[in-house]
Amino acid sequence: MLVPWQGGARRATSVSGQRERRLANTIVEFDRVGLRYGTGAEVLRDLDFRLREGTFYFLTGPSGAGKTSLLKLLYLAQRPTRGRMSLFGDELADAPRDALPAYRRRIGVVFQDFRLIRHLSAFDNVALPLRIAGHDEQQVEGPVREMLAWVGLADRASARPPTLSGGEQQRVAIARAVIARPEIIIADEPTGNVDAAMAERILHLLTAMNRLGTTVIVATHDLGLIAATPGAQLIRLENGLLVDPTGALKHPPGAPTRELGR
Protein backbone atom coordinates (compact mmCIF):
# COMPACT_ATOMS: atom_id res chain seq x y z
CA MET A 1 0.00 0.00 0.00
CA LEU A 2 1.30 3.44 -0.90
CA VAL A 3 2.05 5.97 1.82
CA PRO A 4 0.00 9.16 1.32
CA TRP A 5 1.93 12.36 0.76
CA GLN A 6 2.91 13.66 4.18
CA GLY A 7 4.14 17.13 3.52
CA GLY A 8 7.80 17.18 2.61
CA ALA A 9 10.71 15.51 0.93
CA ARG A 10 13.00 13.62 3.22
CA ARG A 11 16.66 13.57 2.36
CA ALA A 12 18.58 10.38 3.00
CA THR A 13 21.20 10.97 5.64
CA SER A 14 23.90 8.90 3.97
CA VAL A 15 24.47 6.98 0.81
CA SER A 16 27.45 4.69 0.78
CA GLY A 17 27.26 3.57 4.39
CA GLN A 18 23.70 2.37 4.14
CA ARG A 19 23.71 0.60 0.83
CA GLU A 20 22.45 -2.65 2.38
CA ARG A 21 19.48 -0.91 3.97
CA ARG A 22 18.68 0.98 0.78
CA LEU A 23 18.76 -2.15 -1.33
CA ALA A 24 15.87 -3.46 0.69
CA ASN A 25 13.73 -0.36 0.15
CA THR A 26 11.30 0.56 -2.58
CA ILE A 27 12.15 3.96 -4.01
CA VAL A 28 9.57 4.08 -6.80
CA GLU A 29 6.19 2.43 -6.80
CA PHE A 30 3.55 2.63 -9.51
CA ASP A 31 0.09 1.34 -8.83
CA ARG A 32 -2.16 1.05 -11.92
CA VAL A 33 -0.74 4.25 -13.32
CA GLY A 34 -2.11 5.60 -16.57
CA LEU A 35 -1.16 8.70 -18.54
CA ARG A 36 -2.85 10.50 -21.37
CA TYR A 37 -2.11 13.88 -22.88
CA GLY A 38 -5.21 16.04 -23.18
CA THR A 39 -8.09 14.04 -24.57
CA GLY A 40 -5.90 11.63 -26.54
CA ALA A 41 -5.55 7.92 -26.00
CA GLU A 42 -3.57 6.66 -23.01
CA VAL A 43 0.14 6.55 -23.75
CA LEU A 44 0.83 4.59 -20.58
CA ARG A 45 -1.59 2.00 -19.23
CA ASP A 46 -1.85 0.13 -15.98
CA LEU A 47 1.79 0.47 -15.00
CA ASP A 48 2.22 -1.54 -11.88
CA PHE A 49 5.77 -1.95 -10.60
CA ARG A 50 8.25 -1.19 -7.88
CA LEU A 51 11.85 -0.10 -8.21
CA ARG A 52 14.32 -0.85 -5.47
CA GLU A 53 16.60 1.72 -4.01
CA GLY A 54 20.21 1.36 -5.18
CA THR A 55 19.42 -0.74 -8.24
CA PHE A 56 20.41 -0.12 -11.86
CA TYR A 57 17.54 -0.29 -14.33
CA PHE A 58 17.43 -0.11 -18.10
CA LEU A 59 14.20 1.03 -19.71
CA THR A 60 13.82 -0.28 -23.23
CA GLY A 61 11.17 -0.58 -25.85
CA PRO A 62 10.48 0.46 -29.40
CA SER A 63 10.07 4.11 -30.36
CA GLY A 64 6.66 5.40 -29.30
CA ALA A 65 6.31 2.75 -26.58
CA GLY A 66 6.03 5.44 -23.89
CA LYS A 67 9.58 5.45 -22.50
CA THR A 68 9.88 9.24 -22.47
CA SER A 69 6.42 9.56 -20.92
CA LEU A 70 7.38 7.13 -18.18
CA LEU A 71 10.59 9.06 -17.56
CA LYS A 72 8.55 12.30 -17.33
CA LEU A 73 6.44 10.70 -14.62
CA LEU A 74 9.58 9.57 -12.84
CA TYR A 75 11.24 12.97 -12.86
CA LEU A 76 7.96 14.66 -11.92
CA ALA A 77 7.51 16.66 -15.10
CA GLN A 78 4.10 15.05 -15.52
CA ARG A 79 1.44 13.75 -13.20
CA PRO A 80 -0.34 10.47 -13.92
CA THR A 81 -3.92 10.85 -15.08
CA ARG A 82 -4.90 7.82 -13.04
CA GLY A 83 -3.44 5.45 -10.53
CA ARG A 84 -1.03 6.11 -7.73
CA MET A 85 2.65 6.89 -7.86
CA SER A 86 5.09 6.91 -4.99
CA LEU A 87 8.65 8.24 -4.91
CA PHE A 88 10.92 8.02 -1.88
CA GLY A 89 8.01 6.48 0.01
CA ASP A 90 5.67 9.40 -0.53
CA GLU A 91 2.56 9.32 -2.67
CA LEU A 92 3.06 12.10 -5.22
CA ALA A 93 0.30 11.69 -7.79
CA ASP A 94 -1.78 14.29 -5.95
CA ALA A 95 0.96 16.05 -3.96
CA PRO A 96 0.69 19.83 -3.82
CA ARG A 97 2.67 21.55 -6.53
CA ASP A 98 4.81 23.42 -4.00
CA ALA A 99 6.05 20.11 -2.60
CA LEU A 100 7.50 18.85 -5.88
CA PRO A 101 10.75 20.90 -6.11
CA ALA A 102 12.10 19.22 -2.97
CA TYR A 103 11.59 15.82 -4.60
CA ARG A 104 12.99 16.96 -7.94
CA ARG A 105 16.23 17.96 -6.20
CA ARG A 106 16.65 14.32 -5.24
CA ILE A 107 16.50 13.26 -8.88
CA GLY A 108 19.17 13.92 -11.51
CA VAL A 109 18.01 13.89 -15.10
CA VAL A 110 19.96 13.56 -18.33
CA PHE A 111 17.60 14.61 -21.10
CA GLN A 112 17.87 13.16 -24.56
CA ASP A 113 18.06 16.69 -25.99
CA PHE A 114 20.41 17.74 -23.14
CA ARG A 115 18.35 20.85 -22.23
CA LEU A 116 21.38 22.88 -21.39
CA ILE A 117 20.85 26.61 -20.93
CA ARG A 118 22.35 28.04 -24.08
CA HIS A 119 23.54 31.36 -22.70
CA LEU A 120 25.28 29.85 -19.67
CA SER A 121 28.78 28.42 -19.67
CA ALA A 122 29.36 24.70 -19.18
CA PHE A 123 30.47 25.56 -15.63
CA ASP A 124 27.26 27.45 -14.85
CA ASN A 125 25.13 24.69 -16.38
CA VAL A 126 26.77 22.06 -14.20
CA ALA A 127 26.63 24.32 -11.13
CA LEU A 128 22.89 24.99 -11.53
CA PRO A 129 21.58 22.15 -9.31
CA LEU A 130 23.95 23.15 -6.49
CA ARG A 131 22.99 26.80 -6.73
CA ILE A 132 19.27 25.99 -6.85
CA ALA A 133 19.77 23.84 -3.77
CA GLY A 134 21.21 26.90 -2.03
CA HIS A 135 24.92 26.07 -1.91
CA ASP A 136 27.17 29.09 -1.72
CA GLU A 137 29.86 29.70 -4.30
CA GLN A 138 32.68 28.21 -2.20
CA GLN A 139 30.76 24.93 -2.12
CA VAL A 140 30.12 25.08 -5.85
CA GLU A 141 33.50 25.84 -7.40
CA GLY A 142 35.42 22.71 -6.37
CA PRO A 143 32.82 20.02 -7.12
CA VAL A 144 31.94 21.57 -10.47
CA ARG A 145 35.59 21.78 -11.58
CA GLU A 146 36.08 18.21 -10.45
CA MET A 147 33.01 16.99 -12.29
CA LEU A 148 33.97 18.82 -15.49
CA ALA A 149 37.42 17.27 -15.27
CA TRP A 150 35.84 13.85 -14.81
CA VAL A 151 33.78 14.16 -17.98
CA GLY A 152 36.83 15.49 -19.81
CA LEU A 153 35.70 19.08 -20.13
CA ALA A 154 37.99 20.85 -17.69
CA ASP A 155 39.31 23.10 -20.43
CA ARG A 156 35.81 23.86 -21.75
CA ALA A 157 34.36 25.19 -18.50
CA SER A 158 33.68 28.64 -19.89
CA ALA A 159 32.34 27.43 -23.26
CA ARG A 160 28.67 27.89 -23.98
CA PRO A 161 26.60 24.95 -25.26
CA PRO A 162 26.24 26.20 -28.86
CA THR A 163 30.02 26.08 -29.15
CA LEU A 164 30.23 22.52 -27.81
CA SER A 165 29.89 19.35 -29.89
CA GLY A 166 26.94 17.02 -29.31
CA GLY A 167 29.12 14.69 -27.27
CA GLU A 168 30.45 17.54 -25.16
CA GLN A 169 26.93 18.79 -24.52
CA GLN A 170 25.94 15.27 -23.54
CA ARG A 171 28.77 15.18 -21.00
CA VAL A 172 27.81 18.57 -19.56
CA ALA A 173 24.25 17.28 -19.19
CA ILE A 174 25.49 14.19 -17.37
CA ALA A 175 27.73 16.25 -15.12
CA ARG A 176 24.75 18.48 -14.27
CA ALA A 177 22.60 15.44 -13.48
CA VAL A 178 25.04 13.89 -11.04
CA ILE A 179 26.68 16.95 -9.46
CA ALA A 180 24.22 17.17 -6.56
CA ARG A 181 24.58 13.45 -5.75
CA PRO A 182 20.91 12.65 -6.41
CA GLU A 183 19.23 9.55 -5.01
CA ILE A 184 17.81 8.69 -8.42
CA ILE A 185 19.50 9.33 -11.76
CA ILE A 186 17.28 9.19 -14.81
CA ALA A 187 19.03 9.24 -18.17
CA ASP A 188 17.36 9.24 -21.56
CA GLU A 189 19.75 7.74 -24.14
CA PRO A 190 22.81 9.07 -22.30
CA THR A 191 25.26 7.52 -24.75
CA GLY A 192 23.36 8.43 -27.88
CA ASN A 193 25.73 11.21 -28.94
CA VAL A 194 29.11 10.03 -27.76
CA ASP A 195 31.77 7.70 -29.09
CA ALA A 196 32.38 4.23 -27.69
CA ALA A 197 35.12 5.35 -25.32
CA MET A 198 33.00 8.16 -23.86
CA ALA A 199 29.97 5.83 -23.69
CA GLU A 200 32.07 3.46 -21.60
CA ARG A 201 33.18 6.32 -19.40
CA ILE A 202 29.59 7.53 -18.90
CA LEU A 203 28.47 4.02 -18.08
CA HIS A 204 31.33 3.77 -15.62
CA LEU A 205 30.17 7.00 -13.96
CA LEU A 206 26.60 5.74 -13.73
CA THR A 207 27.62 2.38 -12.32
CA ALA A 208 29.92 4.14 -9.86
CA MET A 209 27.01 6.28 -8.72
CA ASN A 210 24.91 3.13 -8.48
CA ARG A 211 27.56 1.43 -6.35
CA LEU A 212 27.32 4.38 -3.98
CA GLY A 213 23.63 3.60 -3.56
CA THR A 214 22.06 5.75 -6.22
CA THR A 215 19.17 4.27 -8.13
CA VAL A 216 19.88 4.60 -11.85
CA ILE A 217 17.25 4.39 -14.57
CA VAL A 218 18.56 4.56 -18.12
CA ALA A 219 16.31 4.58 -21.17
CA THR A 220 18.25 3.16 -24.09
CA HIS A 221 18.12 1.19 -27.32
CA ASP A 222 21.77 0.27 -26.90
CA LEU A 223 21.85 -3.46 -26.22
CA GLY A 224 25.61 -3.29 -25.84
CA LEU A 225 25.17 -0.88 -22.96
CA ILE A 226 22.72 -3.27 -21.29
CA ALA A 227 25.02 -6.20 -21.81
CA ALA A 228 27.93 -4.25 -20.36
CA THR A 229 26.11 -3.63 -17.10
CA PRO A 230 25.96 -6.74 -14.97
CA GLY A 231 23.36 -6.68 -12.26
CA ALA A 232 21.08 -4.25 -14.05
CA GLN A 233 17.39 -4.98 -14.40
CA LEU A 234 15.33 -4.49 -17.46
CA ILE A 235 12.03 -2.64 -17.77
CA ARG A 236 10.47 -3.04 -21.19
CA LEU A 237 7.59 -0.98 -22.50
CA GLU A 238 5.48 -1.80 -25.53
CA ASN A 239 2.46 0.25 -26.56
CA GLY A 240 2.32 1.91 -23.17
CA LEU A 241 2.22 -1.38 -21.31
CA LEU A 242 4.93 -2.80 -19.12
CA VAL A 243 6.46 -5.97 -20.51
CA ASP A 244 8.67 -7.58 -17.97
CA PRO A 245 11.00 -10.14 -19.48
CA THR A 246 12.54 -11.08 -16.17
CA GLY A 247 9.38 -11.24 -14.14
CA ALA A 248 11.36 -9.72 -11.31
CA LEU A 249 9.85 -6.25 -11.23
CA LYS A 250 6.47 -7.39 -9.96
CA HIS A 251 8.05 -8.87 -6.89
CA PRO A 252 8.14 -6.87 -3.67
CA PRO A 253 11.43 -5.46 -2.39
CA GLY A 254 13.78 -8.14 -1.25
CA ALA A 255 12.54 -10.72 -3.72
CA PRO A 256 15.24 -12.48 -5.76
CA THR A 257 16.00 -10.85 -9.10
CA ARG A 258 17.74 -12.20 -12.13
CA GLU A 259 20.75 -10.27 -13.17
CA LEU A 260 21.08 -9.29 -16.77
CA GLY A 261 24.06 -9.29 -19.06
CA ARG A 262 25.94 -12.24 -17.69
Partner: protein, 288 residues
Protein backbone atom coordinates in the same frame (compact mmCIF):
# COMPACT_ATOMS: atom_id res chain seq x y z
CA UNK B 1 12.10 42.84 -0.52
CA UNK B 2 14.75 40.11 -0.30
CA UNK B 3 13.47 38.85 -3.65
CA UNK B 4 15.16 41.87 -5.24
CA UNK B 5 18.60 40.69 -4.22
CA UNK B 6 20.10 38.04 -6.48
CA UNK B 7 23.60 36.74 -6.90
CA UNK B 8 25.80 37.19 -9.96
CA UNK B 9 25.29 33.57 -11.13
CA UNK B 10 21.52 34.00 -10.78
CA UNK B 11 21.76 37.20 -12.80
CA UNK B 12 23.45 35.31 -15.62
CA UNK B 13 20.48 32.94 -15.86
CA UNK B 14 18.24 35.60 -17.41
CA UNK B 15 20.06 37.98 -19.72
CA UNK B 16 18.79 41.48 -18.94
CA UNK B 17 17.94 42.22 -22.57
CA UNK B 18 15.25 39.56 -22.31
CA UNK B 19 13.04 41.63 -20.04
CA UNK B 20 13.85 45.20 -20.98
CA UNK B 21 12.27 45.73 -24.39
CA UNK B 22 9.69 48.50 -24.26
CA UNK B 23 9.05 48.31 -20.51
CA UNK B 24 11.26 51.22 -19.37
CA UNK B 25 9.93 53.46 -22.16
CA UNK B 26 6.35 52.52 -21.39
CA UNK B 27 6.82 53.14 -17.68
CA UNK B 28 8.59 56.44 -18.46
CA UNK B 29 5.64 57.67 -20.53
CA UNK B 30 3.12 56.49 -17.94
CA UNK B 31 5.05 58.14 -15.12
CA UNK B 32 5.43 61.36 -17.10
CA UNK B 33 1.66 61.57 -17.63
CA UNK B 34 1.02 60.53 -14.05
CA UNK B 35 3.28 63.21 -12.58
CA UNK B 36 1.82 65.95 -14.81
CA UNK B 37 -1.75 64.96 -13.96
CA UNK B 38 -0.93 64.61 -10.26
CA UNK B 39 0.75 68.04 -10.28
CA UNK B 40 -2.36 69.49 -11.90
CA UNK B 41 -4.49 67.85 -9.25
CA UNK B 42 -2.32 69.20 -6.46
CA UNK B 43 -2.36 72.68 -8.01
CA UNK B 44 -6.16 72.50 -8.12
CA UNK B 45 -6.28 71.44 -4.48
CA UNK B 46 -4.01 74.33 -3.53
CA UNK B 47 -5.96 76.83 -5.62
CA UNK B 48 -9.21 75.70 -4.05
CA UNK B 49 -7.61 76.08 -0.63
CA UNK B 50 -6.43 79.61 -1.48
CA UNK B 51 -9.89 80.59 -2.73
CA UNK B 52 -11.52 78.98 0.27
CA UNK B 53 -9.24 80.62 2.82
CA UNK B 54 -9.75 84.00 1.10
CA UNK B 55 -13.48 83.88 1.72
CA UNK B 56 -13.52 81.69 4.80
CA UNK B 57 -14.51 84.42 7.28
CA UNK B 58 -15.96 86.95 4.88
CA UNK B 59 -19.69 87.71 4.69
CA UNK B 60 -22.00 90.21 3.04
CA UNK B 61 -25.09 91.95 4.35
CA UNK B 62 -27.47 92.36 1.45
CA UNK B 63 -30.35 94.83 1.79
CA UNK B 64 -32.54 94.62 -1.28
CA UNK B 65 -34.51 97.82 -0.82
CA UNK B 66 -31.81 100.39 -0.83
CA UNK B 67 -29.15 102.00 1.22
CA UNK B 68 -31.45 103.81 3.69
CA UNK B 69 -31.18 100.90 6.03
CA UNK B 70 -27.43 100.50 5.55
CA UNK B 71 -26.32 102.59 8.57
CA UNK B 72 -28.55 100.60 10.90
CA UNK B 73 -27.28 97.36 9.46
CA UNK B 74 -23.68 98.53 9.81
CA UNK B 75 -24.24 99.57 13.40
CA UNK B 76 -25.82 96.22 14.19
CA UNK B 77 -22.96 94.36 12.51
CA UNK B 78 -20.27 96.32 14.30
CA UNK B 79 -21.98 95.68 17.63
CA UNK B 80 -22.27 91.93 17.01
CA UNK B 81 -19.71 89.73 18.83
CA UNK B 82 -16.89 88.49 16.62
CA UNK B 83 -17.23 91.06 13.85
CA UNK B 84 -13.82 92.46 13.00
CA UNK B 85 -14.76 94.84 10.22
CA UNK B 86 -17.95 96.02 8.47
CA UNK B 87 -17.73 98.38 5.49
CA UNK B 88 -20.42 99.36 3.03
CA UNK B 89 -19.58 98.85 -0.64
CA UNK B 90 -19.75 102.36 -2.10
CA UNK B 91 -22.92 102.86 -4.22
CA UNK B 92 -20.76 104.11 -7.12
CA UNK B 93 -18.90 100.82 -7.16
CA UNK B 94 -22.23 99.01 -7.27
CA UNK B 95 -23.46 101.20 -10.12
CA UNK B 96 -20.28 100.51 -12.10
CA UNK B 97 -20.77 96.79 -11.54
CA UNK B 98 -24.40 97.01 -12.65
CA UNK B 99 -23.37 99.03 -15.69
CA UNK B 100 -21.18 96.13 -16.79
CA UNK B 101 -24.19 93.84 -16.63
CA UNK B 102 -27.04 96.11 -17.67
CA UNK B 103 -25.32 98.61 -19.96
CA UNK B 104 -25.72 102.40 -19.62
CA UNK B 105 -29.12 102.04 -17.96
CA UNK B 106 -27.39 100.41 -15.03
CA UNK B 107 -25.85 103.74 -14.13
CA UNK B 108 -29.14 105.68 -14.04
CA UNK B 109 -29.74 107.45 -10.77
CA UNK B 110 -33.35 106.31 -10.43
CA UNK B 111 -32.40 102.63 -10.59
CA UNK B 112 -32.97 101.23 -7.08
CA UNK B 113 -29.71 99.92 -5.70
CA UNK B 114 -29.29 97.25 -3.05
CA UNK B 115 -27.00 98.05 -0.18
CA UNK B 116 -24.11 95.69 0.36
CA UNK B 117 -21.91 95.66 3.43
CA UNK B 118 -18.74 93.55 3.54
CA UNK B 119 -18.23 91.95 6.93
CA UNK B 120 -15.12 90.14 8.21
CA UNK B 121 -15.64 87.98 11.25
CA UNK B 122 -13.21 86.39 13.68
CA UNK B 123 -12.47 82.67 13.11
CA UNK B 124 -14.14 81.76 16.39
CA UNK B 125 -17.24 83.91 15.77
CA UNK B 126 -20.71 82.40 15.42
CA UNK B 127 -22.00 83.53 12.00
CA UNK B 128 -25.54 82.37 12.77
CA UNK B 129 -25.71 84.61 15.84
CA UNK B 130 -24.32 87.58 13.90
CA UNK B 131 -26.86 86.96 11.15
CA UNK B 132 -29.71 86.86 13.70
CA UNK B 133 -28.56 90.16 15.27
CA UNK B 134 -28.42 91.89 11.88
CA UNK B 135 -31.72 90.48 10.62
CA UNK B 136 -33.36 91.48 13.90
CA UNK B 137 -32.03 95.05 13.59
CA UNK B 138 -32.86 95.35 9.90
CA UNK B 139 -35.75 93.11 8.84
CA UNK B 140 -35.27 91.93 5.28
CA UNK B 141 -31.47 92.12 5.42
CA UNK B 142 -29.63 88.90 4.48
CA UNK B 143 -26.35 87.85 6.04
CA UNK B 144 -24.65 85.73 3.33
CA UNK B 145 -21.34 83.87 3.48
CA UNK B 146 -19.03 84.55 0.51
CA UNK B 147 -18.25 80.86 0.59
CA UNK B 148 -21.83 80.13 -0.46
CA UNK B 149 -21.44 82.41 -3.51
CA UNK B 150 -18.25 80.61 -4.50
CA UNK B 151 -19.67 77.14 -3.86
CA UNK B 152 -20.12 76.31 -7.58
CA UNK B 153 -16.49 77.31 -8.28
CA UNK B 154 -15.21 75.29 -5.32
CA UNK B 155 -17.33 72.33 -6.37
CA UNK B 156 -15.89 72.55 -9.87
CA UNK B 157 -12.36 72.66 -8.46
CA UNK B 158 -13.10 69.66 -6.24
CA UNK B 159 -14.52 67.79 -9.21
CA UNK B 160 -11.47 68.52 -11.33
CA UNK B 161 -9.19 67.46 -8.47
CA UNK B 162 -11.02 64.16 -8.11
CA UNK B 163 -10.82 63.69 -11.86
CA UNK B 164 -7.06 64.29 -11.77
CA UNK B 165 -6.52 61.76 -9.00
CA UNK B 166 -8.85 59.31 -10.73
CA UNK B 167 -6.67 59.66 -13.83
CA UNK B 168 -3.57 59.04 -11.72
CA UNK B 169 -5.14 55.81 -10.46
CA UNK B 170 -6.10 54.78 -13.99
CA UNK B 171 -2.57 55.41 -15.23
CA UNK B 172 -1.22 53.42 -12.30
CA UNK B 173 -3.52 50.55 -13.27
CA UNK B 174 -2.43 50.81 -16.89
CA UNK B 175 1.21 50.69 -15.73
CA UNK B 176 0.42 47.60 -13.69
CA UNK B 177 -1.27 45.96 -16.69
CA UNK B 178 1.72 46.78 -18.91
CA UNK B 179 4.01 45.26 -16.30
CA UNK B 180 1.93 42.07 -16.17
CA UNK B 181 2.17 41.74 -19.96
CA UNK B 182 5.91 42.37 -19.83
CA UNK B 183 6.34 39.78 -17.09
CA UNK B 184 4.37 37.15 -18.98
CA UNK B 185 6.29 37.96 -22.15
CA UNK B 186 9.57 37.53 -20.29
CA UNK B 187 8.41 34.14 -19.03
CA UNK B 188 7.55 33.05 -22.55
CA UNK B 189 10.91 34.24 -23.86
CA UNK B 190 12.71 32.18 -21.25
CA UNK B 191 10.42 29.17 -21.23
CA UNK B 192 13.28 26.74 -21.92
CA UNK B 193 15.41 28.07 -19.06
CA UNK B 194 12.45 27.96 -16.68
CA UNK B 195 11.62 24.36 -17.61
CA UNK B 196 15.19 23.32 -16.94
CA UNK B 197 15.19 25.15 -13.62
CA UNK B 198 11.89 23.59 -12.58
CA UNK B 199 13.18 20.18 -13.65
CA UNK B 200 16.22 20.59 -11.43
CA UNK B 201 14.08 21.56 -8.46
CA UNK B 202 13.83 25.34 -8.55
CA UNK B 203 10.81 26.73 -6.77
CA UNK B 204 8.49 29.29 -8.34
CA UNK B 205 9.89 31.93 -6.00
CA UNK B 206 13.42 31.21 -7.17
CA UNK B 207 12.36 31.56 -10.79
CA UNK B 208 10.20 34.65 -10.23
CA UNK B 209 13.04 36.37 -8.38
CA UNK B 210 15.18 36.35 -11.51
CA UNK B 211 12.59 38.37 -13.41
CA UNK B 212 11.23 40.58 -10.64
CA UNK B 213 14.56 42.26 -10.01
CA UNK B 214 14.94 43.18 -13.67
CA UNK B 215 11.38 44.48 -13.89
CA UNK B 216 11.93 46.53 -10.73
CA UNK B 217 15.07 48.08 -12.20
CA UNK B 218 13.34 48.79 -15.52
CA UNK B 219 10.34 50.33 -13.77
CA UNK B 220 12.54 52.46 -11.55
CA UNK B 221 14.71 53.71 -14.41
CA UNK B 222 11.68 54.39 -16.61
CA UNK B 223 9.81 56.02 -13.75
CA UNK B 224 12.71 58.30 -12.82
CA UNK B 225 13.22 59.34 -16.44
CA UNK B 226 9.52 60.10 -16.93
CA UNK B 227 9.32 61.98 -13.64
CA UNK B 228 12.45 64.00 -14.47
CA UNK B 229 10.99 65.20 -17.77
CA UNK B 230 7.64 65.94 -16.13
CA UNK B 231 9.40 67.84 -13.32
CA UNK B 232 11.29 69.94 -15.83
CA UNK B 233 8.10 70.88 -17.67
CA UNK B 234 6.26 71.64 -14.44
CA UNK B 235 9.16 73.83 -13.28
CA UNK B 236 9.05 75.75 -16.56
CA UNK B 237 5.30 76.27 -16.28
CA UNK B 238 5.57 77.37 -12.66
CA UNK B 239 8.39 79.75 -13.55
CA UNK B 240 6.13 81.40 -16.14
CA UNK B 241 3.26 81.56 -13.70
CA UNK B 242 5.24 83.14 -10.88
CA UNK B 243 3.43 86.49 -11.13
CA UNK B 244 0.02 84.85 -10.93
CA UNK B 245 1.33 82.73 -8.07
CA UNK B 246 2.33 85.77 -6.08
CA UNK B 247 -1.05 87.38 -6.73
CA UNK B 248 -2.86 84.24 -5.62
CA UNK B 249 -0.97 84.37 -2.34
CA UNK B 250 0.53 80.89 -2.46
CA UNK B 251 2.53 78.80 -4.94
CA UNK B 252 0.29 76.31 -6.80
CA UNK B 253 2.73 73.53 -5.87
CA UNK B 254 4.54 73.69 -2.55
CA UNK B 255 7.60 71.75 -1.44
CA UNK B 256 5.47 69.08 0.20
CA UNK B 257 3.66 68.59 -3.11
CA UNK B 258 6.98 68.44 -4.93
CA UNK B 259 8.12 65.75 -2.49
CA UNK B 260 4.91 63.82 -3.10
CA UNK B 261 5.45 64.06 -6.86
CA UNK B 262 9.04 62.92 -6.45
CA UNK B 263 7.78 59.82 -4.66
CA UNK B 264 5.53 58.89 -7.58
CA UNK B 265 8.22 57.13 -9.69
CA UNK B 266 9.19 55.13 -6.61
CA UNK B 267 5.56 54.24 -6.06
CA UNK B 268 5.25 53.22 -9.72
CA UNK B 269 8.37 51.03 -9.43
CA UNK B 270 7.05 49.46 -6.23
CA UNK B 271 3.64 48.83 -7.81
CA UNK B 272 5.26 47.33 -10.91
CA UNK B 273 7.46 45.10 -8.76
CA UNK B 274 4.65 43.81 -6.58
CA UNK B 275 2.27 43.30 -9.51
CA UNK B 276 4.97 41.64 -11.63
CA UNK B 277 5.86 39.25 -8.83
CA UNK B 278 2.23 38.27 -8.31
CA UNK B 279 1.73 37.84 -12.08
CA UNK B 280 4.89 35.76 -12.41
CA UNK B 281 3.99 33.47 -9.52
CA UNK B 282 0.49 33.04 -10.92
CA UNK B 283 1.82 32.26 -14.41
CA UNK B 284 4.36 29.81 -13.01
CA UNK B 285 1.64 28.03 -11.03
CA UNK B 286 -0.04 27.20 -14.34
CA UNK B 287 2.92 24.95 -15.16
CA UNK B 288 3.80 21.71 -13.39
Amino acid sequence: MSFLVISEPERRLIPSSGVRGPVPLLIAIMTFVMVVVAATGLALVNSAAVVKSGVEHRYSIQIADGSAKAPAAMAAARSAPGVIRANQVPPDDLRRTLERWLGPSGAEADLPLPAIIDVDVAPAADPNRIGQIIERAVPGARFVAHRASLAPLLQALTGLTLLAFGLVMLIAMASAAATILAARGALDNHRATIEVMHGIGATDRQVARLFVRQIAIDALLGGLAGAAVAGLIIALILGGASTATVLAGAPPIGWKDALLLALLPLAVALLATVVARAALLRALRERL
